[in-house]
């Protein structure tokens, strides 16, 4: 039985430590797991963009520590393969699909970094296993302080729509972007600004 709290047997904390160690020594059970790979990519983006800021903020205000934990848990939860989303096949003996986890990874990648945004969660609402069924995408994001929230939300919506159109055949009815948090702007390495 699959453990919902782990990705192919690895917790998000283990994956975070593995990333810290420069992915050395190489762990085949992580490198050969698509779910772990999706989570590692999300964690790497998280750190590259806002990790230092969020970590400092979390230390300053304990309430934010819980939010960070939720983001990390969301990454782990959403990287699971989930449902199979059908792709039109050339004949009836062929079945093609993209996993829900891979699509959530795409959505997260599309949203991360837009206006310093960080995707907190991504949910595909509707029966994605049936071709042609309308699907809504629900995303929560944290946006960098000072950004125009409406513009950032619109940019994220457009990027998600473009990536879903390229990589899936989902009938996307609506993309809901909710700004659930605002975080400080990351200072460039070396300080100054």
């Amino acid at each position: 039985m699959t453990d919902p709290d782990t990705l192919d047997g690895h917790t998000i904390e283990e994956l975070s430590d593995y990333l810290d160690a420069g992915r050395e020594p190489r762990d085949e059970s992580i490198e050969n797991s698509p779910g772990c790979q999706i989570a590692l990519e999300s964690l790497a983006r998280l750190r590259a963009s806002t990790w230092a800021v969020l970590e400092a903020e979390a230390q300053a205000t304990p309430a934010d520590d819980a939010w960070l934990g939720r983001v990390m848990a969301g990454i782990a939860r959403e990287a699971h393969a989930g449902r199979d989303i059908p792709i039109a096949a050339p004949d009836e003996r062929v079945t093609l699909a993209v996993t829900e986890g891979s699509v959530r990874g795409l959505v997260r990648a599309a949203g991360d970094g837009v206006g310093g945004a960080l995707v907190g969660s991504c949910t595909l609402l509707g029966d994605v296993t049936v071709a042609g069924e309308p699907v809504d995408v629900q995303v929560t994001v944290s946006v960098a302080f000072g950004e125009n929230l409406r513009e950032v939300a619109q940019q994220i919506r457009e990027r998600i729509a473009a990536t879903l159109a390229l990589h899936t055949e989902l009938e996307v009815r609506d993309i809901h972007v909710t700004v659930s948090d605002v975080h400080p702007v990351a200072k460039p390495a070396g300080g100054g600004v």
Binding site: S33, P34, L96, V98
Partner: protein
Amino acid sequence: MTNDELELSRQLTSLVRSLPGVHDVYTTGGLVAAATMAVTNLFDDEARVAVEGGRVSASIAVAAGFSAPDTLRATSAAIAAHLATAGRTDEIAVTASRIE
């Protein structure tokens, strides 16, 4: 898998890995399947495409810059062509488990 299926799996894994747009091929069935295969001495890292009971299953990562649907269709077409040379008409399932 029989020995013939294992050899076919190796051929198909190599074929799928070489296709444009395919970044990686994963063990079908995830790590539970891989662990089971390891215990039963059936695990072969070069045989990741499952061939069993008239069905061929592949799980792939789609490379950046490639469309997932196009890559999936090209992969299934390449598998079908390879099977045809052996006179086989297995069902084919290809899943994109990760998209870069």
